[in-house]
Amino acid sequence: MDWSQFRFHSFGINKFIDMKKFNLADIGLTKYLFFTGKGGVGKTSIACATAVGLADQGKKILLISTDPASNLQDVFKQTLNDKGLTIQEVPGLTVANIDPEQAAAEYRESVIAPFKGKLPVSVIENMEEQLSGSCTVEISAFNKFADFITDKKESEEYDYIIFDTAPTGHTLRMLQLPSAWSTFISKSTHGASCLGQLSGLEQRKNIYKQAVQTLSDPQKTNLILVSRPESSPLKEAARSSHELQLLGIKNQTLIINAFLEHADDSDTITKQLHERQQKALSEMSEELSVYPIYKIPMRSYNLSNIANIRKMFNEDILANIEDNYQPLDYVNTEKELIDDLYKSGKRVIFTMGKGGVGKTTVATQIALGLAKRGAKVHLTTTDPANHLNYNLVIKAGITVSRIDEIKELEKYKNEVRSKAASTMSAEDMEYIEEDLRSPCTQEIAVFRAFAQIVEKADNEVVVIDTAPTGHTLLLLDATESYHKEVERTQGEDIPDAVRNLLPRLRNPEETEVVIVTLPEPTPVFEAERLQQDLKRAGIQNKWWVVNACFSLVDTKNPFLQSKAKSELMWIDKINKLSNNNIALIKWADL
């Protein structure tokens, strides 16, 4: 990188950003605190540290996770439930975990159980299938979520109620739903589509309404956007902030986590890291700079237990470093991974992992590597942040496409409209439009685009970087139920692309899922759960990529050496999880 240019950029266009150190006494504490941000930015840790910190001050705290892959269980080393359990080590703290999948399963069982034996098996199966969709998952989770926001007893019992929400896309949808639903409930003229399955919808109308009001009341709710001082999570934070602002949630605060306080000019890597952070911050969206901004320094230790969580806002501790620090050596890197993928002749390659782990970067590297070895490659991104290095990719002869959720939805809507128009009057079209606003419609639309891309694997190797984990799982889940639906409606108008999709994804000769993670606790736990989900879906996974490893970097800086050392236990764990099929990628100034 040309640093002279960077300096010009950095100091020429730099805005003055007033960043105070994050301190529980300073932030505008409201009864309800919501943490949101791209996966991996540390919102779980910050939500926990806030909850633990306030409880240590003698406050009564309820901490609720709505993350489909909750990390709170890992931090508190305690199995949690959706009702709330007190934490022995932290007097005053109660923690609840809403697992959307489990909430959906419970809901499904409660609906179906009374009819087992009364209706034939084929009918029961039909009901189970329909109640396995993403609508049911979202609705049953939101149901519990709304209960926590509106419960009077809880509001009186606790001083603060803290939500550690799911990755951005999911959070947004969940927060977006209330206003959509309020409109839906009041305006709907026909049987409420996706909401029809909610028993007693009308009775719960007030609960939803109240939940929406609480969320948009600045006296009651503070939305805390969490980001790292890196460009992609900052863009994501700006987007969330904007969308939530439009939904009426205006009391927002930004936290910059893992901020490197001082540049260490004697160490190249530290200097690069520091300058990269400064550059990302100087390019931060204007929209974010209107909110109070706090920073939390980068920590060299793992935030995977309560003792370290307690230190997070206050102090740093360095691991004991031997005098002869050496970076890791003799390990697989991206080269070995790509060699193996090339030799195996696989046609469909996914990079999967939590948001922010670098799926797009890894997918790009795989595509470039395969092209270099002579394969014909197509690269697809579903990441809305879309930071592919186009020039490099195009120059290598790779074709590129993007699944744009909004465009795909519009395309699908238009297809429906044109089919409907031949049989319908204008008035009736309004009725169709109502169903086109359903969240399932969007899933279906994206899914169709996904199937079409995978079909390209007939002629070339397709590399796909998927969207964040929660969404990915929904996509896979959609694949599954879609497949069943296809089997049931054989002979109807179903594109071949869709019919061939799941068998292809399940064929280990054709498909490889590369799990991408970081050498940090949260991403590793999440990746482990992802591996289990893939197994359940019957999809093959061999390789794991550990991205952005400081442990491969030769650094003189004791802080980074300490950070590198803390990575080792996670690399070790991944080694076991992946049966030694692990490829490490060095932290690099990209």
Partner: protein, 108 residues
Amino acid sequence: MNKIEIFDPTMCCSTGLCGPNVNPDLMRFAAVVEMLKRKGFEIERHNLRDVPELYVENNVVNKLLQEYGVKVLPITLVDGKLKVSKTYPTNKQLSEWTGVNLDFIPLE
């Protein structure tokens, strides 16, 4: 004719748009039913997912289900009598039952 009842299979939405493919016949039917309801006819659509108890309580429907399984849906009853199964009624049938002219001009 007093009442038309349709027993749907489980559906995400009454137009089937949430399903894997667009079924123009289902959309046609959903829209016509909605129009007839607005004209004051008593027409009810039941979704197996939401009101499974009706599929147990209604003798005609339950007998068909026990005999043929879920494939027999959708079932249409007019004043409690079986009229159509496995498919939705046509506009012509609905027109006969209600006396409403359903030959409308399609949208372009």
